[in-house]
C-alpha cells in the first residue's frame, strides 16, 4: 500500500449550468460545452448523477472525459466555481464525437484566476508615466483617447489617426471598431493584425473568381485527392485533418518544404510529398498545370463552359481581372513559354523531382481515366511567400481542374484563424495615399507610420511590433517616434494631455494599446486599455466552413477590464459620435446583420427570423448550439436555409459569372527570390505555427502543458547542417541577417535566438522556427518592403533568412523533448 495524492477531476452534477462555445484558436473552431457549478461539489459516477450523462469510468472515444486540464476553479459572481470546458461529445459537425486539439482541449486553463498563470491580466487602464505603466481610471483613459483623437484629426487629418486591429475577434467587436474608425473617422489608416494594409489576402484566387472560403469540411471527406499546400493540417487544423481529411481516405498531395507528420502520413498512405524549396510555389503549380494541359487532362467541359474568353475578360469592371485575367489559350501560351514549367525545368526551379510533379498531375486528374474529385487547399505558406503570383497559380490550377462548387471538388483556403471580420463601413480607398500603376490601393499603414505620418495609433489585440516584418527596425523607429517631445511625467489629466499633444505636435507618435495581457508591443504604449475577451461576453463568429455559432459568456472580464466593443463605444461617444450606445453585444449583432448581406457570412436572414419571432438574434443563434448555421443564410417560408458550399451554381465572383485563369509572373517571383533569399553563408529561415502553441502565445505562454513542451523558441536544423555548424539539439543559436529590408526598403539587420532542434523534418539549407514566440522575434529576419509586392501589400513572411551560429548551450538538452515529430503510422500495406 502506498499513500499518495490520487489525481481526480470533479464531475458536473446534473443541475450544473451549461453554456455553449467554440474553441478560441484555429479556424476549425470545434464546438465545446461549458459546465459551471459551485466548487466543493461533484456529480456522481452514474450517468443520471452527472451532467455529462455517461457512466464513469467512460469508454475510449466517448468524447465525454474531462481531463485535468479541462477543469479549473474560477471566482464567478463572488463564488468559487468549478468550470469544465469540454468538447461537445454529441457534436455531429466539425469535431464529431467530441474530438479536439491540444489547443482547445485545455481552454479551461485560459480563464482568469487571481492566482496562477493567468493572473497577469490587465485589470485597469494604465498610463505610461516616466516609462512605467500606472493604473488610471476609465474616465481619464477615455478622455485622453477622445481628446488626443480630436487633436490629431483636427490638426493633421484623419490619415494621421490609425488603428491596428485583429481582423477576426468576433463580429461584434470588429463591427464596433470599424464603425468608429472607418465609418465616423473615415480613415484609410486601418490595417489588420497580420498585414501592413487592408485588402485581400489571396488576391490571385479572388481574381480567378473563386471565394477563398467556399468549401465545406464535408468536401474534404468526399474528395478522392487532397492537394494541400503551405498549411500543415495535422499540426495547425488538427480536427479538420483527423475527422475530415484523413478519415475520408483521400490520397494527399502535400506541398511543404518541411517533411512534417502530414507529409509522412501522405507518403505512407498512397499520397505524395512535394518538398519544394521556399519561394517556388508558382513554378510548381504552373508546371503541374502545364503537364495537365499537355496531356489534355484538364476538365474540358468546365473550361469550355465556365472560363471567360478574352473578350469577356475585357468587359470586366475590375481592373485587376482585365489586366491579369487570362483565357484558356492565353494561360496555355504562357505556361508553354517558360522553360521552368517543363517537368525538368520545374525540378531545377523547385527541387521537386520531375517524376513527382508528373505523378501529381496524374493523381489530380485521373490521367485521362475517371476524373477523381480533387480539392486544392492552401494557406500562408502559399500566400505569405509570393502573395499574388502563388495565389494566382494555385487558383488557376483549381480552375483547370474544375475544382469548385461540387462535393469533394473545391479550391480555397484552409484558414489561419476564425472569421469574425464583419465591418460596419467600407474601406475609404479614395483617401489612400498609395496606388499601383495609377489604381488606388489600400494604405501601407506601416510604411506610413515609419515615415512619421501617423500621430496616433490605436492597437487592438495584437503583438503589433512582433507581427510585422523587419520587426527590430520597426521597433527602433517606434521608439524614436514615441520619444519625441516631452516625456509624460505626471498623472494629472491636464498635464498628461498637454504633454502628449506636444509630442504629437513635435512630429511624434502616441500609442494606445487595447489588450488582455502584456505582450512585446505593450511597453511601447502610452495608454493601455484593459480589455475583456473570449468567454467574457457573448459573441458570434464563423469558422473556415462558414459555420456561424454563438460563444457564450462564461464570466465577467477581470477587475475593471471591459469588453472591446464597449471600449470602442465609450471612446466614440466621448468623441461626440451618435449610434454607439449599444446595451449589449446582441444589439451590435443585429445592427451588423444587414451589412453582412450578400457576402459569404450573410446572417441577415437569421436576425430577420429572430425579429419575426420576437426573440433576440443571439438567442436564436444559440438554439443551434455547437452545430450553428452555415452561411450565407436565406429564408424560405420562414425557415432558415444554409449554404454548405459556395459556387454550386458554377457562377463565380466576376461580372460575367465565369471564372478565368490569372497570370502568375514567375519572372517577377524569381527576381524577388534573388532579393529576399539567403545570401552567402545564410540559410532559409521559414516560420509557422506549432501544434501546442497559438499565435503570440497570449494564452499558451500561460499554459503549463504548452510551456513544458516548448519552454523556449526553437530552430529546426537538418542533421547535415547541424554537423557542419557543430550544433546539437538544445544548443543556443544566433540567427542573424544583415540583408533585411525595412518598411522603407532600406537594408537593415535583424537577429534572434532560439534553441536548436536537430531534425530531418527540414531539408539541408532550410530551417524553421515559430513565428511569434515571446522573446524570440523571428520576424527580425523577414523583410517588410511592400514595394516588392506592390499590388497586394503583403509581407513575404515565409521568406526569412539568416546566418546560424552556435552561441552556447542550454539546460534544455536535459529537460526538453527533442523526439522526432514526423513519425506517421504505416499505411494499409504496412
Amino acid at each position: 500500500m502506498t499513500e499518495a495524492n490520487p489525481a481526480f477531476v470533479p464531475l458536473p452534477p446534473p443541475d450544473a449550468e451549461v453554456k455553449t462555445t467554440c474553441c478560441e484558436y484555429c479556424p476549425v473552431a470545434c464546438g465545446y460545452k461549458v459546465y459551471l457549478w459551485p466548487a466543493g461539489i461533484s456529480g456522481g459516477r452514474k450517468a443520471e448523477e452527472n451532467a455529462l450523462g455517461i457512466d464513469f469510468p467512460g469508454p475510449a472515444l466517448s468524447g465525454k472525459w474531462p481531463s485535468q486540464n479541462m477543469h479549473t476553479v474560477i471566482e464567478r459572481n463572488g463564488i468559487q466555481t468549478n468550470v469544465i470546458i469540454i468538447p461537445d461529445g454529441d457534436s455531429a459537425v466539425v469535431n464529431v464525437g467530441g474530438t479536439h486539439s491540444v489547443r482547445g482541449g485545455a481552454l479551461a486553463q485560459k480563464l482568469y484566476r487571481q492566482t496562477g498563470p493567468t493572473s497577469d491580466r490587465y485589470l485597469t487602464p494604465m498610463l505610461k508615466v516616466r516609462g512605467q505603466h500606472l493604473p488610471i481610471s476609465w474616465e481619464m483613459a477615455i478622455d485622453l483617447m477622445a481628446e488626443l483623437s480630436h487633436h490629431v484629426i483636427d490638426s493633421y487629418g484623419e490619415l494621421a489617426w490609425g488603428m491596428k486591429i485583429y481582423s477576426y475577434q468576433f463580429y461584434e467587436n470588429v463591427f464596433a471598431a470599424s464603425k468608429l474608425a472607418l465609418g465616423e473617422i473615415g480613415t484609410p489608416n486601418y490595417s489588420p493584425h497580420h498585414a501592413p494594409a487592408e485588402g485581400d489576402d489571396v488576391p490571385g484566387l479572388s481574381d480567378v473568381g473563386i471565394d477563398a472560403f467556399g468549401t465545406a469540411f464535408a468536401d474534404d471527406k468526399e474528395a478522392d485527392v487532397l492537394f494541400i499546400a503551405g498549411s500543415d493540417p495535422y499540426e495547425t487544423k488538427t480536427v479538420r485533418f483527423t475527422t475530415w481529411q484523413q478519415a475520408g481516405g483521400a490520397k494527399i498531395i502535400y506541398v511543404d518544404p518541411r517533411k512534417t507528420f502530414t507529409a509522412a502520413y501522405a507518403e505512407n498512405h498512397g499520397g505524395l510529398h512535394l518538398q519544394l524549396m521556399p519561394g517556388t510555389d508558382t513554378a510548381l503549380y504552373s508546371a503541374i498545370a502545364r503537364e495537365i494541359i499537355a496531356n489534355g487532362w484538364e476538365d474540358t467541359e468546365f473550361v469550355r463552359d465556365h472560363i471567360a474568353s478574352r473578350a469577356e475578360l475585357d468587359q470586366e469592371g475590375k481592373w485587376r481581372r482585365v489586366q491579369f485575367g487570362r483565357s484558356f489559350d492565353e494561360f496555355s501560351r504562357y505556361l508553354f513559354s517558360e522553360d521552368d514549367f517543363t517537368l525538368e525545368g520545374a525540378e531545377r526551379a523547385t527541387g521537386v523531382p520531375a517524376a513527382k510533379i508528373r505523378m501529381a498531375a496524374e493523381m489530380m486528374t485521373g490521367a485521362g481515366g475517371e476524373r477523381p474529385k480533387t480539392m486544392l487547399l492552401f494557406e500562408k505558406g502559399v500566400y505569405w511567400s509570393h502573395n499574388y503570383e502563388n495565389t494566382a497559380a494555385i487558383g488557376s490550377l483549381g480552375a483547370l481542374l474544375g475544382a469548385t462548387g461540387r462535393p469533394g471538388r473545391g479550391t480555397g483556403r484552409m484558414g489561419g484563424h476564425q472569421r469574425g471580420g464583419q465591418k460596419a463601413a467600407g474601406y475609404p480607398l479614395d483617401k489612400s495615399p498609395h496606388s499601383f500603376e495609377g489604381h488606388p490601393i489600400e494604405m501601407d499603414t506601416e510604411r506610413w507610420l515609419v515615415e512619421g505620418n501617423t500621430r496616433f495609433r490605436w492597437v487592438v489585440g495584437t503583438n503589433w511590433l512582433g507581427a510585422m516584418g523587419a520587426t527590430q527596425a520597426l521597433r527602433k523607429r517606434v521608439a524614436d517616434l514615441t520619444s519625441m517631445g516631452p516625456e509624460v511625467d505626471s498623472t494629472d489629466p491636464a498635464t498628461v494631455l498637454r504633454q502628449l499633444k506636444e509630442r504629437i505636435d513635435a512630429g511624434g507618435l502616441v500609442i494606445a494599446h487595447q489588450e488582455i495581457y502584456p505582450n512585446e508591443s505593450t511597453p511601447s504604449a502610452d495608454i493601455i486599455l484593459a480589455a475583456g475577451a473570449w468567454g467574457e461576453d457573448t459573441y458570434a463568429r464563423n469558422n473556415a466552413e462558414r459555420r456561424l455559432r454563438i460563444y457564450d459568456k462564461i464570466m465577467d472580464p477581470p477587475g475593471d477590464a471591459i469588453p472591446d466593443w464597449k471600449i470602442f463605444s465609450m471612446v466614440a461617444q466621448r468623441m461626440g459620435f451618435a449610434g454607439f450606445d449599444w446595451k449589449d453585444t446582441n444589439e451590435i449583432f443585429e445592427e451588423a446583420s444587414p451589412k453582412s448581406a450578400g457576402g459569404r457570412r450573410d446572417f441577415a436572414a437569421l436576425v430577420e427570423k429572430a425579429k419575426a419571432e420576437g426573440v433576440r438574434g443571439h438567442d436564436l443563434l444559440a438554439t443551434y448550439g455547437t452545430q450553428g448555421l452555415q452561411t450565407p443564410l436565406s429564408l424560405e417560408n420562414g425557415e432558415l436555409i444554409e449554404t454548405v458550399r459556395l459556387h454550386e451554381d458554377l457562377q463565380f465572383k466576376t461580372d460575367s459569372g465565369k471564372a478565368n485563369f490569372v497570370f502568375a509572373d514567375w519572372d517577377a517571383v524569381k527576381e524577388r527570390n534573388d532579393i529576399l533569399g539567403p545570401t552567402s553563408g545564410e540559410v532559409w529561415v521559414i516560420n509557422g505555427r506549432i501544434n501546442a502553441l497559438w499565435n503570440n502565445l497570449f494564452d499558451h505562454a500561460r499554459r503549463q502543458i504548452s510551456k513544458e513542451r516548448w519552454p523556449m523558441n526553437f530552430l529546426e536544423v537538418h542533421p547535415d547542417d547541424a554537423a557542419a555548424w557543430g550544433v546539437e539539439s538544445g544548443d543556443l543559436l544566433s540567427i542573424e541577417s544583415d540583408n533585411v529590408l525595412d518598411q522603407l526598403g532600406n537594408k537593415t539587420t535583424g537577429s534572434f535566438t532560439a534553441a536548436a532542434y536537430v531534425s530531418d523534418i527540414v531539408p539541408p539549407g532550410v530551417t524553421f522556427t515559430y513565428f511569434l514566440y515571446p522573446g524570440s522575434p523571428s520576424n527580425a529576419v523577414t523583410s517588410a518592403d511592400t514595394s516588392l509586392q506592390p499590388l497586394s501589400l503583403r509581407y513575404n513572411f515565409k521568406l526569412g533568412k539568416g546566418k546560424v551560429t552556435k552561441i552556447g548551450t542550454t539546460d534544455l538538452k536535459e529537460t526538453m523533448s527533442f523526439a522526432p515529430r514526423n513519425l506517421a503510422p504505416a499505411g494499409p500495406e504496412g
Binding site: E3, V9, Q68, P117, Q704, E708
Partner: protein, 175 residues
C-alpha cells in the same frame, strides 16, 4: 522546468517520491487537491527478467487502467532500478482513451496513438511531443525490492476515470 503547483515531496511507505515527479502531477495535469489515497502495491516484473526496450503490459491501479513498464537503457525521469532506467506509464491515450501499443525504442516514444496520433516521450515523463492530448501520460511510481519491480502509485489522471483510485476495481489489496 517542473515548478508550479508543486505539493512538495510525498513520503509514502518510506519511499520519497522525487520532487520532479511529484510536481509533474500538477504541472501538466491541472488542479489538484490535498486528498490522500492509498494505492495498491503490485509486483509488475522481476528485475532480471526485463529486456531493454521490450514493454511489459499490466493494469494498474484499477482493472482496465492499462499500463506499460519498460527498461529504457538510460537514466530517465522517474526511473528506478540500478540504472534508473525503468519507467511505467498508463498506455491509455490522454486524448480520447485509445490504447497505445506502439513503443518505438529507437526514439523512446510511445505512439503515435492509433486514433489521433498523439505521441509521448517516455524520457521526459510522458510529455506530449506531438498531438492532441491535453495531459501528459500518467506516470507510475515504481520501486524495486530485491529482484522485483513494484507499482506503488500513479501521477495524473488516467483516461476515462474521474479519480485514479475510484470507480472501478483495484488490482490489488490496499493492506
Amino acid at each position: 522546468m517542473f515548478l508550479g503547483g508543486a505539493t512538495g515531496a510525498v513520503v509514502a511507505m518510506g519511499v520519497l517520491v522525487p520532487i520532479g515527479l511529484a510536481s509533474r502531477e500538477t504541472a501538466s495535469g491541472g488542479q489538484t487537491a490535498a486528498i490522500v489515497g492509498f494505492f495498491p502495491r503490485l509486483k509488475v516484473a522481476g528485475l532480471s527478467e526485463l529486456e531493454e526496450g521490450i514493454p511489459v503490459l499490466f493494469d494498474y491501479p484499477q482493472v482496465g487502467q492499462s499500463s506499460m513498464l519498460v527498461k529504457m537503457g538510460e537514466p530517465v525521469i522517474g526511473g528506478v532500478g540500478p540504472d534508473g532506467d525503468i519507467v511505467a506509464f498508463s498506455r491509455l491515450c490522454t486524448h480520447m482513451g485509445c490504447a497505445i501499443s506502439e513503443y518505438q525504442h529507437e526514439y523512446k516514444i510511445l505512439g503515435p496513438c492509433p486514433c489521433h496520433y498523439s505521441t509521448f516521450d517516455l524520457v521526459h515523463g510522458g510529455m506530449v511531443t506531438l498531438g492532441q492530448a491535453t495531459q501528459d501520460l500518467p506516470q507510475l511510481l515504481l520501486s524495486v525490492d530485491d529482484d522485483a519491480v513494484y507499482a506503488d502509485g500513479v501521477f495524473r489522471l488516467v483516461y476515462g476515470f474521474d479519480n485514479t483510485l475510484q470507480g472501478g476495481e483495484l488490482v490489488g489489496e490496499r493492506v
